[in-house]
């Protein structure tokens, strides 16, 4: 089986998972009758009275038919982009609209931290495995243990205290602790309203588009603490896995063979051990990504960043079904597709998997 075949097969395997995801969301909206479902699809801002809307919805989604018929109609609506409405303090309108506004910020946050994690985590893990039982090793282990066990939102709070509380040290008040930008800079801007910037909704880009360097710098500063927090929370587990898998690899027979061939230490680690050691790390990336996405929710809540997570928590507090389900779907999709990419990478890394 060639690599291409493997990739194609993997792509096909995505569909059942997607069906499952939608099915779960659909069932959740139907637990105990379809009232919650109606709640998701009724638009209270429209002129049409709720009762009428509900009646229409009942017809549109065939709510009186058997459940799988309903699923079918719901799915078609879902695929046509009708995801219902959300009413939260920070946004009120269609679910898709909300996602369009909030997703970019989340992506930025997640992207920054994942990149940081990879460029820090893997070398450190390798290093501490090679220098087993050395001071380096022990300190990285302690670090990863604490990082692994630290509640991420709490870490966020601690950072907030450290960088904002006068009790600690005014010298530390360099990083802003809340929101995505300093309101003072942005009030009565045409392209920035209620925490959302236009056109790309990514403030870092929009500020440059509108040539406002000061806003760009301020926005960048606002990103620092969240990114650091999120990175810290996932870095630990990556280092941990990388270290242990590198340790195993170094005990393999083929490493002994490499030594018997007279290869230098460097060559053994870089050319023989590292690639093998990465394979189990890749397989475990799925869980890391899950942790990352979970972390996003909490961190956006702590730092009031207008992202999907923030929106979802707002929806939870204000009991808004549309927001909850929308958030779940988006996180689910993000998770499924990032795992897809990981698996394809896996195919590149391990020649055995193609056979």
């Amino acid at each position: 089986m060639t690599l291409r075949v493997y990739i194609i097969r993997r792509l096909i395997l995505v569909f059942p998972t997607l069906i499952g995801l939608t099915l779960i969301v659909f069932i959740l909206t139907h637990v105990g009758g379809y009232q919650r479902f109606l709640g998701e699809y009724v638009n209270i801002h429209s002129a049409i009275p709720v009762a009428v809307q509900e009646q229409r919805l009942t017809q549109q989604f065939h709510l009186n038919d058997p459940i799988f018929v309903q699923y079918f109609y719901w799915l078609s609506a879902f695929l046509q982009g009708n995801w219902g409405y959300t009413q939260t303090p920070i946004y009120s309108g269609t679910v898709l609209g909300a996602i369009g506004l909030f997703l970019p910020n989340t992506i930025i946050l997640a992207a920054f931290s994942s990149i940081l994690t990879i460029i820090i985590g893997i070398p450190v893990g390798v290093w501490s495995a090679v220098k087993k039982d050395s001071l380096v090793d022990h300190s990285t282990r302690i670090f990863s243990f604490i990082g692994y066990s630290m509640p991420v939102y709490w870490l966020g709070l601690i950072l907030i205290i450290a960088f904002a509380s006068p009790a600690v040290c005014p010298c530390l008040n360099i990083f802003p602790i809340s929101g995505s930008v300093n309101i003072a800079l942005t009030n009565n801007l045409s392209w920035f309203t209620s925490g959302i910037s236009y056109p790309t909704h990514i403030l870092l880009i929009d500020s440059l588009i509108h040539g406002r360097l000061d806003i760009f710098v301020d926005a960048a500063l606002h990103q620092v603490l969240p990114v650091v927090t999120l990175t810290f929370s996932i870095l630990a587990s990556i280092i941990r896995v990388m270290r242990s898998s590198m340790e195993d690899t170094l005990n393999q027979d083929y490493i002994r063979t490499a030594r018997a061939k007279g290869l230098r230490q460097g060559a053994i680690i870089n050319e023989h051990a590292r690639r093998n050691a990465l394979i189990p790390v890749i397989t475990l990336t799925g869980y890391t990504i899950a942790g990352l996405l979970g972390g996003v929710v909490l961190i956006e809540a702590v730092f009031n960043l207008p992202g999907i997570g923030y929106w979802t928590t707002e929806a939870l507090i204000s009991g808004d079904i549309g927001g909850i389900m929308g958030g779940t779907v988006i996180f689910g999709l993000a998770f499924i597709f990032s795992n897809l990419i990981v698996d394809i990478l896996y195919g590149f890394f391990d020649p055995r998997i193609r056979y």
Binding site: P16, V25, L28, L157, L298, G332
Partner: protein, 290 residues
């Protein structure tokens, strides 16, 4: 007797490693506190183990002092008592969640692995689907639907957690099934049920047990995290660590202790649990037993 020697050996290896020993002791300490708090709270100076005692005359958080060891949090709640009481709540729920999840998971996993084929396929697809949503958002959704009390929340977490164990137990069971002793048992007329109960489950339990110990720390965190973002609003005065942190959130800067103490309580427990889990894994790894 041999089996006893095995347990002894395990403990010896566990205690040879200082960190895992420390982990074990700390965890035991937490459990002890929880138990005392449940049976005779006054012993550790807790007035009401089942609800926080607000003091609206002085709702603003007070710094740690002699009569308020950890200070107070909004609304005038003695943080020490709240934290101690919360330990009981969090430990209880976490244990329930993990054990329930593990139980379901082992059952599904082992059965799937033993009767491989179509049945296995179905079960694994289901677990895949459950695993295809990151657990935190999924738990939020399920919890929201079930209702936002702690019991509903833990039910939600069980629903999110069991597939992990199912996957894990299945993997273990599959490798065990390959061993010749399973086939030998079949050849000597032992029925399927006998093989599952006598050979597969006992051999699966050990690794799953390690997994449980590694997960407990995570579950405590997740549980607290969910209450932090607004679950458990059903019972505003229930002592719970995540909730305490979110209550203190607005005062974090002016009165840091309101978030520090509950957070540290979680952190220490999670660290201890992970240390213990790692120690157990090493202790039960055959390579380290010779």
């Amino acid at each position: 007797m041999a089996r006893f020697d095995q347990t002894k050996l395990t403990l010896r290896i566990l205690f040879e490693n200082v960190t895992s020993a420390a982990g074990l002791l700390i965890v035991l300490g937490y459990v002890l506190i929880a138990i005392i708090d449940a049976v005779y709270p006054q012993l550790i100076g807790v007035v009401n183990a089942y609800a926080e005692v607000p003091d609206y005359t002085n709702p603003v958080p007070q710094p740690p002092s002699l009569q308020h060891l950890f200070g107070t949090t909004y609304p005038g709640i003695d943080l020490y008592q709240a934290v101690v009481a919360a330990i009981r709540v969090d430990l209880w729920y976490s244990f329930v969640i993990v054990l329930a999840g593990a139980l379901v998971g082992i059952l599904v996993g082992v059965v799937a692995a033993y009767y491989s084929g179509f049945f296995d396929e179905i079960l694994m697809r289901i677990t895949d689907i459950f695993l295809s949503i990151p657990y935190l958002p999924f738990a939020i959704a399920v919890g929201f639907v079930l209702g936002r009390g702690l019991d509903e929340l833990s039910l939600a977490l069980v629903i999110v957690w069991w597939p992990l164990y199912a996957r894990y137990a299945r993997g273990q069971a599959l490798s065990i099934k390959e061993n010749a002793y399973v086939e030998a048992a079949r050849a000597s007329g032992v029925g399927s049920w006998g093989i599952i109960t006598k050979h597969i489950v006992p051999n699966v339990l050990t690794p799953v047990f390690v997994q449980i110990s590694l997960d407990l720390g995570t579950v405590v965190q997740t549980f607290a995290a969910l209450t932090f973002i607004g679950f458990a609003s059903a019972n505003p005065l229930l002592p719970e660590l995540g909730k305490l942190i979110s209550d203190g959130f607005p005062y974090a800067i002016s009165a840091p202790w309101v978030v520090i103490f509950p957070g540290v309580t979680i952190l220490i427990f999670a660290v201890a649990m992970n240390l213990l889990g790692d120690g157990l894994r090493d202790a039960l790894d055959p390579r380290n037993r010779t």
